[in-house]
Amino acid sequence: MSIMEYNGGAVLAMVGKNCVAIASDLRFGVQAQTLSTNFSKVFPISSKCFLGLSGLATDILTLHQKLVFKNNLYKLREEREMSPRVFANMVASTLYEKRFGPFFSEPVIAGLEGPENKPYITAMDLLGAPVDAHDFVMSGTCTPAMYGMCETLYRPNLEPDDLFETISQCLLAAFDRDAITGWGAVVHILTPTGVISRKLKGRQD
Protein backbone atom coordinates (compact mmCIF):
# COMPACT_ATOMS: atom_id res chain seq x y z
CA MET A 1 0.00 0.00 0.00
CA SER A 2 1.33 3.39 -0.93
CA ILE A 3 0.60 6.32 1.33
CA MET A 4 -0.30 8.38 -1.75
CA GLU A 5 -3.09 5.87 -2.47
CA TYR A 6 -4.56 5.74 1.02
CA ASN A 7 -7.29 8.28 0.39
CA GLY A 8 -7.37 8.38 -3.42
CA GLY A 9 -8.38 11.35 -5.51
CA ALA A 10 -7.34 13.32 -8.55
CA VAL A 11 -6.84 16.90 -9.73
CA LEU A 12 -6.62 18.17 -13.31
CA ALA A 13 -5.93 21.60 -14.80
CA MET A 14 -6.15 22.74 -18.41
CA VAL A 15 -5.35 25.86 -20.43
CA GLY A 16 -7.88 27.46 -22.76
CA LYS A 17 -8.15 30.71 -24.67
CA ASN A 18 -7.66 33.46 -22.08
CA CYS A 19 -8.95 31.05 -19.45
CA VAL A 20 -7.86 28.12 -17.31
CA ALA A 21 -9.83 25.25 -15.83
CA ILE A 22 -9.04 23.32 -12.67
CA ALA A 23 -11.03 20.37 -11.41
CA SER A 24 -10.99 17.55 -8.90
CA ASP A 25 -13.11 14.61 -7.86
CA LEU A 26 -15.22 14.79 -4.72
CA ARG A 27 -14.45 11.51 -2.99
CA PHE A 28 -13.05 11.27 0.49
CA GLY A 29 -12.36 7.72 1.54
CA VAL A 30 -10.09 5.48 3.53
CA GLN A 31 -8.79 2.73 1.29
CA ALA A 32 -11.89 0.94 -0.01
CA GLN A 33 -14.44 2.71 2.19
CA THR A 34 -15.94 5.94 0.87
CA LEU A 35 -16.78 8.35 3.67
CA SER A 36 -17.78 11.57 1.90
CA THR A 37 -18.87 12.59 -1.59
CA ASN A 38 -18.35 16.28 -0.96
CA PHE A 39 -14.57 16.63 -0.49
CA SER A 40 -13.32 19.08 -3.10
CA LYS A 41 -9.56 19.16 -3.57
CA VAL A 42 -9.47 22.53 -5.32
CA PHE A 43 -9.09 25.68 -3.23
CA PRO A 44 -9.23 29.35 -4.23
CA ILE A 45 -6.18 31.39 -3.31
CA SER A 46 -7.29 34.54 -5.08
CA SER A 47 -9.74 35.34 -7.84
CA LYS A 48 -6.93 34.70 -10.30
CA CYS A 49 -5.25 31.69 -8.70
CA PHE A 50 -6.55 28.28 -7.65
CA LEU A 51 -4.71 25.45 -5.92
CA GLY A 52 -5.51 21.76 -6.32
CA LEU A 53 -4.03 19.15 -3.98
CA SER A 54 -4.09 15.38 -4.31
CA GLY A 55 -2.70 12.63 -2.10
CA LEU A 56 -3.09 12.07 1.63
CA ALA A 57 -6.20 13.95 2.81
CA THR A 58 -4.73 15.16 6.10
CA ASP A 59 -1.79 16.65 4.24
CA ILE A 60 -4.16 18.24 1.69
CA LEU A 61 -5.89 20.04 4.56
CA THR A 62 -2.71 21.02 6.40
CA LEU A 63 -0.88 22.19 3.29
CA HIS A 64 -3.87 24.23 2.26
CA GLN A 65 -3.98 25.90 5.70
CA LYS A 66 -0.24 26.59 5.66
CA LEU A 67 -0.35 28.08 2.18
CA VAL A 68 -3.37 30.26 2.93
CA PHE A 69 -1.50 31.46 6.05
CA LYS A 70 1.58 32.35 4.03
CA ASN A 71 -0.52 33.98 1.34
CA ASN A 72 -2.41 36.11 3.86
CA LEU A 73 0.80 37.36 5.47
CA TYR A 74 2.18 38.16 2.02
CA LYS A 75 -0.93 40.18 1.19
CA LEU A 76 -0.66 42.13 4.45
CA ARG A 77 3.06 42.80 4.06
CA GLU A 78 3.16 43.53 0.35
CA GLU A 79 -0.29 45.09 -0.02
CA ARG A 80 -0.82 43.16 -3.23
CA GLU A 81 -1.99 39.76 -4.41
CA MET A 82 0.47 36.97 -5.15
CA SER A 83 0.64 36.16 -8.82
CA PRO A 84 0.10 32.45 -9.67
CA ARG A 85 3.73 31.99 -10.69
CA VAL A 86 4.99 33.47 -7.43
CA PHE A 87 2.48 31.39 -5.44
CA ALA A 88 3.66 28.25 -7.24
CA ASN A 89 7.26 28.97 -6.29
CA MET A 90 6.22 29.51 -2.71
CA VAL A 91 4.44 26.14 -2.74
CA ALA A 92 7.56 24.49 -4.13
CA SER A 93 9.73 26.06 -1.40
CA THR A 94 7.24 25.02 1.27
CA LEU A 95 7.31 21.41 0.07
CA TYR A 96 11.09 21.25 -0.21
CA GLU A 97 11.46 22.51 3.37
CA LYS A 98 10.16 19.04 4.30
CA ARG A 99 12.52 17.26 1.90
CA PHE A 100 13.35 14.39 4.30
CA GLY A 101 9.87 14.05 5.80
CA PRO A 102 7.52 15.38 3.12
CA PHE A 103 3.87 16.23 2.88
CA PHE A 104 2.24 13.41 0.92
CA SER A 105 0.48 15.68 -1.48
CA GLU A 106 1.15 16.71 -5.06
CA PRO A 107 -0.18 20.17 -5.95
CA VAL A 108 -1.61 21.55 -9.16
CA ILE A 109 -1.84 25.31 -9.58
CA ALA A 110 -3.92 27.14 -12.18
CA GLY A 111 -4.30 30.86 -12.62
CA LEU A 112 -4.23 33.94 -14.79
CA GLU A 113 -0.90 35.72 -14.68
CA GLY A 114 -0.33 39.48 -14.74
CA PRO A 115 -2.41 42.35 -16.10
CA GLU A 116 -2.84 40.49 -19.39
CA ASN A 117 -4.38 37.50 -17.60
CA LYS A 118 -2.14 35.04 -19.36
CA PRO A 119 -3.15 31.45 -18.50
CA TYR A 120 -0.67 29.73 -16.19
CA ILE A 121 -0.68 26.15 -14.96
CA THR A 122 1.91 24.12 -13.15
CA ALA A 123 2.14 20.93 -11.12
CA MET A 124 4.79 19.51 -8.83
CA ASP A 125 5.66 16.36 -6.98
CA LEU A 126 5.55 15.99 -3.21
CA LEU A 127 9.09 17.39 -2.88
CA GLY A 128 8.34 20.54 -4.83
CA ALA A 129 9.84 19.73 -8.24
CA PRO A 130 7.72 21.85 -10.57
CA VAL A 131 6.75 21.23 -14.14
CA ASP A 132 5.26 24.03 -16.27
CA ALA A 133 3.05 22.99 -19.15
CA HIS A 134 1.19 24.91 -21.79
CA ASP A 135 -1.68 22.45 -22.13
CA PHE A 136 -2.63 20.36 -19.08
CA VAL A 137 -1.29 19.17 -15.74
CA MET A 138 -2.63 16.64 -13.27
CA SER A 139 -1.92 14.71 -10.13
CA GLY A 140 -3.59 11.89 -8.20
CA THR A 141 -4.23 8.17 -8.34
CA CYS A 142 -5.54 7.97 -11.92
CA THR A 143 -2.97 10.11 -13.73
CA PRO A 144 -2.29 7.49 -16.43
CA ALA A 145 -5.97 7.48 -17.36
CA MET A 146 -6.13 11.28 -17.25
CA TYR A 147 -3.05 11.58 -19.47
CA GLY A 148 -4.65 9.31 -22.00
CA MET A 149 -7.90 11.28 -22.04
CA CYS A 150 -6.19 14.68 -22.19
CA GLU A 151 -3.80 13.71 -24.97
CA THR A 152 -6.81 12.57 -26.97
CA LEU A 153 -9.37 15.27 -26.26
CA TYR A 154 -7.24 18.38 -25.67
CA ARG A 155 -7.03 21.13 -28.28
CA PRO A 156 -5.40 24.53 -27.73
CA ASN A 157 -7.38 27.80 -27.54
CA LEU A 158 -10.66 26.38 -26.36
CA GLU A 159 -13.28 28.92 -25.28
CA PRO A 160 -14.41 28.68 -21.64
CA ASP A 161 -17.52 26.65 -22.40
CA ASP A 162 -15.66 24.24 -24.68
CA LEU A 163 -12.84 23.98 -22.15
CA PHE A 164 -15.41 23.04 -19.53
CA GLU A 165 -16.81 20.28 -21.74
CA THR A 166 -13.36 18.95 -22.56
CA ILE A 167 -12.02 18.90 -19.02
CA SER A 168 -15.25 17.34 -17.75
CA GLN A 169 -15.11 14.48 -20.26
CA CYS A 170 -11.44 13.85 -19.47
CA LEU A 171 -12.18 13.73 -15.75
CA LEU A 172 -15.23 11.54 -15.82
CA ALA A 173 -13.76 9.00 -18.20
CA ALA A 174 -10.52 8.78 -16.21
CA PHE A 175 -12.29 8.45 -12.86
CA ASP A 176 -14.19 5.45 -14.14
CA ARG A 177 -10.90 3.60 -14.53
CA ASP A 178 -9.94 4.13 -10.88
CA ALA A 179 -11.80 2.65 -7.92
CA ILE A 180 -10.71 5.30 -5.43
CA THR A 181 -11.50 8.43 -7.43
CA GLY A 182 -14.81 9.79 -8.47
CA TRP A 183 -18.16 10.16 -6.72
CA GLY A 184 -18.72 13.42 -8.55
CA ALA A 185 -16.45 16.25 -9.59
CA VAL A 186 -16.10 20.01 -9.26
CA VAL A 187 -14.84 22.15 -12.16
CA HIS A 188 -13.76 25.79 -11.89
CA ILE A 189 -13.25 27.91 -14.99
CA LEU A 190 -11.14 31.03 -14.39
CA THR A 191 -11.61 33.91 -16.80
CA PRO A 192 -10.53 37.57 -16.57
CA THR A 193 -14.12 38.49 -15.69
CA GLY A 194 -14.68 35.88 -13.00
CA VAL A 195 -14.84 32.27 -11.94
CA ILE A 196 -17.57 29.83 -12.96
CA SER A 197 -17.81 26.75 -10.78
CA ARG A 198 -19.87 23.70 -11.65
CA LYS A 199 -20.46 20.34 -10.01
CA LEU A 200 -20.57 17.20 -12.11
CA LYS A 201 -22.50 14.08 -11.24
CA GLY A 202 -20.87 11.01 -12.70
CA ARG A 203 -21.11 7.37 -11.79
CA GLN A 204 -21.61 7.21 -8.03
CA ASP A 205 -19.41 4.20 -7.55
Binding site: E78, R85, V86, N89
Partner: protein, 235 residues
Protein backbone atom coordinates in the same frame (compact mmCIF):
# COMPACT_ATOMS: atom_id res chain seq x y z
CA UNK B 1 19.64 65.31 32.69
CA UNK B 2 19.22 63.36 29.46
CA UNK B 3 22.90 62.55 29.50
CA UNK B 4 22.41 60.56 32.70
CA UNK B 5 20.36 58.14 30.59
CA UNK B 6 22.72 57.47 27.76
CA UNK B 7 24.48 54.47 29.28
CA UNK B 8 21.87 51.89 28.45
CA UNK B 9 20.49 51.81 25.00
CA UNK B 10 17.29 50.18 26.08
CA UNK B 11 16.40 52.78 28.67
CA UNK B 12 14.17 55.76 27.95
CA UNK B 13 15.21 59.13 29.29
CA UNK B 14 12.64 61.14 31.30
CA UNK B 15 11.96 63.26 28.21
CA UNK B 16 10.90 60.15 26.33
CA UNK B 17 14.00 59.80 24.17
CA UNK B 18 16.44 57.00 23.55
CA UNK B 19 19.60 59.05 23.76
CA UNK B 20 21.72 56.53 21.89
CA UNK B 21 19.53 57.09 18.86
CA UNK B 22 19.95 60.83 19.20
CA UNK B 23 23.71 60.34 19.26
CA UNK B 24 23.52 58.02 16.27
CA UNK B 25 21.69 60.74 14.37
CA UNK B 26 24.53 63.05 15.33
CA UNK B 27 26.99 60.61 13.76
CA UNK B 28 24.86 60.74 10.62
CA UNK B 29 24.86 64.54 10.58
CA UNK B 30 28.62 64.51 10.72
CA UNK B 31 28.87 62.24 7.71
CA UNK B 32 29.41 63.32 4.11
CA UNK B 33 26.26 64.55 2.40
CA UNK B 34 24.24 62.04 0.43
CA UNK B 35 21.13 62.83 -1.58
CA UNK B 36 18.51 61.23 -3.77
CA UNK B 37 16.01 62.48 -6.34
CA UNK B 38 13.10 60.55 -7.80
CA UNK B 39 12.30 61.40 -11.42
CA UNK B 40 9.40 60.43 -13.62
CA UNK B 41 11.49 57.78 -15.33
CA UNK B 42 14.09 56.81 -12.76
CA UNK B 43 15.93 57.62 -9.53
CA UNK B 44 19.37 59.11 -8.87
CA UNK B 45 21.37 58.90 -5.64
CA UNK B 46 24.69 60.63 -5.09
CA UNK B 47 27.24 61.39 -2.41
CA UNK B 48 30.47 63.23 -1.75
CA UNK B 49 33.52 61.06 -1.53
CA UNK B 50 36.07 63.42 0.00
CA UNK B 51 39.23 61.40 0.61
CA UNK B 52 42.82 62.29 1.50
CA UNK B 53 44.83 63.03 -1.66
CA UNK B 54 46.94 59.87 -1.42
CA UNK B 55 43.97 57.54 -0.98
CA UNK B 56 42.94 55.38 -3.93
CA UNK B 57 39.37 56.56 -4.52
CA UNK B 58 38.54 53.54 -6.65
CA UNK B 59 38.95 51.27 -3.64
CA UNK B 60 36.11 52.94 -1.77
CA UNK B 61 32.54 52.49 -2.91
CA UNK B 62 29.81 54.35 -1.07
CA UNK B 63 26.95 53.60 -3.44
CA UNK B 64 26.09 49.89 -3.21
CA UNK B 65 23.87 47.49 -5.11
CA UNK B 66 21.36 45.49 -3.07
CA UNK B 67 19.59 43.76 -5.96
CA UNK B 68 19.78 44.30 -9.72
CA UNK B 69 17.03 46.88 -9.36
CA UNK B 70 17.71 48.42 -5.94
CA UNK B 71 20.72 50.44 -4.81
CA UNK B 72 21.62 52.50 -1.78
CA UNK B 73 23.85 55.23 -0.44
CA UNK B 74 24.43 56.37 3.13
CA UNK B 75 25.53 59.17 5.40
CA UNK B 76 27.44 58.30 8.54
CA UNK B 77 29.72 55.42 9.46
CA UNK B 78 30.85 53.43 6.46
CA UNK B 79 31.57 50.16 8.29
CA UNK B 80 28.04 50.14 9.73
CA UNK B 81 26.66 50.44 6.21
CA UNK B 82 28.65 47.42 5.06
CA UNK B 83 26.83 45.28 7.65
CA UNK B 84 23.46 46.52 6.41
CA UNK B 85 24.38 46.01 2.76
CA UNK B 86 25.39 42.43 3.53
CA UNK B 87 22.20 41.71 5.47
CA UNK B 88 20.06 43.47 2.86
CA UNK B 89 21.54 41.45 0.01
CA UNK B 90 20.99 38.21 1.86
CA UNK B 91 17.38 39.04 2.72
CA UNK B 92 16.66 40.06 -0.86
CA UNK B 93 18.17 36.83 -2.17
CA UNK B 94 16.27 34.72 0.36
CA UNK B 95 13.06 36.42 -0.72
CA UNK B 96 13.84 35.66 -4.35
CA UNK B 97 14.58 32.04 -3.49
CA UNK B 98 11.17 31.67 -1.89
CA UNK B 99 9.04 33.51 -4.43
CA UNK B 100 11.13 33.58 -7.64
CA UNK B 101 10.03 37.20 -7.71
CA UNK B 102 12.35 40.13 -6.98
CA UNK B 103 11.79 41.91 -3.67
CA UNK B 104 10.17 45.34 -3.95
CA UNK B 105 11.99 48.52 -2.87
CA UNK B 106 9.59 48.99 0.04
CA UNK B 107 10.06 45.32 0.91
CA UNK B 108 13.81 45.65 1.39
CA UNK B 109 13.34 49.00 3.15
CA UNK B 110 11.04 47.35 5.69
CA UNK B 111 13.55 44.53 6.25
CA UNK B 112 16.49 46.90 6.79
CA UNK B 113 14.40 49.21 8.98
CA UNK B 114 13.43 46.18 11.05
CA UNK B 115 17.10 45.22 11.48
CA UNK B 116 18.00 48.76 12.49
CA UNK B 117 15.15 48.83 15.01
CA UNK B 118 16.31 45.53 16.52
CA UNK B 119 19.63 47.16 17.33
CA UNK B 120 17.75 49.80 19.35
CA UNK B 121 16.02 47.22 21.50
CA UNK B 122 18.56 44.47 22.07
CA UNK B 123 21.18 43.91 24.73
CA UNK B 124 24.84 44.58 24.16
CA UNK B 125 24.49 46.31 20.80
CA UNK B 126 24.39 49.91 19.65
CA UNK B 127 22.34 51.53 16.91
CA UNK B 128 23.75 51.79 13.39
CA UNK B 129 25.41 55.19 12.87
CA UNK B 130 23.98 55.59 9.36
CA UNK B 131 20.97 56.92 7.53
CA UNK B 132 20.35 55.04 4.30
CA UNK B 133 18.92 56.33 1.05
CA UNK B 134 17.50 53.42 -0.91
CA UNK B 135 16.65 53.84 -4.59
CA UNK B 136 14.85 51.24 -6.64
CA UNK B 137 12.56 50.46 -9.50
CA UNK B 138 9.59 48.11 -9.16
CA UNK B 139 7.71 46.88 -12.22
CA UNK B 140 4.34 47.46 -10.55
CA UNK B 141 4.91 50.75 -8.72
CA UNK B 142 7.75 52.41 -10.65
CA UNK B 143 10.66 54.46 -9.26
CA UNK B 144 11.10 54.52 -5.47
CA UNK B 145 13.26 56.50 -3.03
CA UNK B 146 13.30 55.81 0.71
CA UNK B 147 15.27 56.99 3.71
CA UNK B 148 15.94 54.71 6.71
CA UNK B 149 17.17 56.20 9.98
CA UNK B 150 19.14 54.67 12.90
CA UNK B 151 15.88 54.39 14.87
CA UNK B 152 14.37 52.18 12.18
CA UNK B 153 11.95 54.84 10.92
CA UNK B 154 11.59 54.97 7.19
CA UNK B 155 10.19 57.61 4.88
CA UNK B 156 9.42 57.72 1.17
CA UNK B 157 10.79 60.79 -0.54
CA UNK B 158 10.51 62.57 -3.86
CA UNK B 159 13.87 64.17 -3.16
CA UNK B 160 15.95 64.37 -0.01
CA UNK B 161 19.40 64.70 1.50
CA UNK B 162 21.09 63.31 4.61
CA UNK B 163 24.38 64.09 6.31
CA UNK B 164 26.44 67.21 6.85
CA UNK B 165 24.75 69.65 4.50
CA UNK B 166 21.25 68.24 4.52
CA UNK B 167 19.37 71.37 5.56
CA UNK B 168 20.78 73.54 2.77
CA UNK B 169 20.61 70.68 0.30
CA UNK B 170 16.92 70.03 1.04
CA UNK B 171 16.11 73.73 0.65
CA UNK B 172 17.95 73.72 -2.67
CA UNK B 173 16.11 70.60 -3.80
CA UNK B 174 12.73 71.99 -2.78
CA UNK B 175 13.26 74.95 -5.05
CA UNK B 176 14.32 72.92 -8.04
CA UNK B 177 12.22 69.79 -7.80
CA UNK B 178 9.01 69.21 -9.71
CA UNK B 179 7.09 65.99 -10.30
CA UNK B 180 7.71 65.93 -14.05
CA UNK B 181 11.48 65.98 -14.14
CA UNK B 182 13.25 63.45 -16.29
CA UNK B 183 16.13 61.37 -14.95
CA UNK B 184 18.73 63.38 -16.85
CA UNK B 185 17.44 66.60 -15.22
CA UNK B 186 17.46 64.90 -11.85
CA UNK B 187 21.11 63.89 -12.29
CA UNK B 188 22.01 67.50 -13.09
CA UNK B 189 20.09 68.79 -10.08
CA UNK B 190 21.81 66.17 -7.90
CA UNK B 191 25.24 67.32 -9.03
CA UNK B 192 24.34 70.99 -8.54
CA UNK B 193 23.03 70.26 -5.06
CA UNK B 194 26.23 68.45 -4.12
CA UNK B 195 28.23 71.34 -5.52
CA UNK B 196 26.40 73.78 -3.22
CA UNK B 197 27.95 72.36 -0.08
CA UNK B 198 31.16 71.11 -1.65
CA UNK B 199 34.41 72.50 -0.30
CA UNK B 200 36.95 72.65 -3.07
CA UNK B 201 36.81 71.49 -6.64
CA UNK B 202 34.32 68.73 -7.52
CA UNK B 203 35.61 66.04 -9.86
CA UNK B 204 34.66 62.54 -11.01
CA UNK B 205 36.91 61.11 -8.30
CA UNK B 206 35.36 62.80 -5.28
CA UNK B 207 31.68 62.19 -5.94
CA UNK B 208 29.76 58.97 -6.55
CA UNK B 209 26.47 58.68 -8.44
CA UNK B 210 24.11 55.76 -8.80
CA UNK B 211 21.11 55.71 -11.13
CA UNK B 212 18.24 53.46 -12.05
CA UNK B 213 16.26 53.98 -15.22
CA UNK B 214 12.63 52.95 -15.61
CA UNK B 215 13.43 51.78 -19.15
CA UNK B 216 15.61 48.90 -17.99
CA UNK B 217 15.12 48.81 -14.23
CA UNK B 218 18.81 48.05 -13.64
CA UNK B 219 20.68 49.93 -10.92
CA UNK B 220 24.13 51.08 -11.92
CA UNK B 221 26.91 53.04 -10.25
CA UNK B 222 28.24 55.53 -12.79
CA UNK B 223 31.88 55.08 -13.70
CA UNK B 224 34.20 58.07 -13.18
CA UNK B 225 34.19 58.54 -16.95
CA UNK B 226 30.38 58.83 -17.00
CA UNK B 227 30.44 61.23 -14.04
CA UNK B 228 33.03 63.32 -15.84
CA UNK B 229 30.69 63.67 -18.83
CA UNK B 230 27.91 64.97 -16.62
CA UNK B 231 30.27 67.38 -14.85
CA UNK B 232 31.52 68.71 -18.16
CA UNK B 233 27.97 69.48 -19.31
CA UNK B 234 27.48 71.59 -16.23
CA UNK B 235 30.76 73.43 -16.81
Amino acid sequence: MDSYYDFSLTTFSPSGKLVQIEYALQAVSDGATALGIKAKNGVVIATEKKLPPLMDSSSIQKVSLLTPNIGMVYAGMGPDTRVLVKKGRKKAEAYFRQYKDPITSIGIVKELASVMQEFTQSGGVRPFGVSLLIAGYDKTTGPALYQVDPSGSYFGWKATAVGKNMVNAKTFLEKRYNEDIELEDAIHIAILTLKEGFEGQMSEHNIEIGIIRSSDGQFQVLTPAMVKDYLEVLG
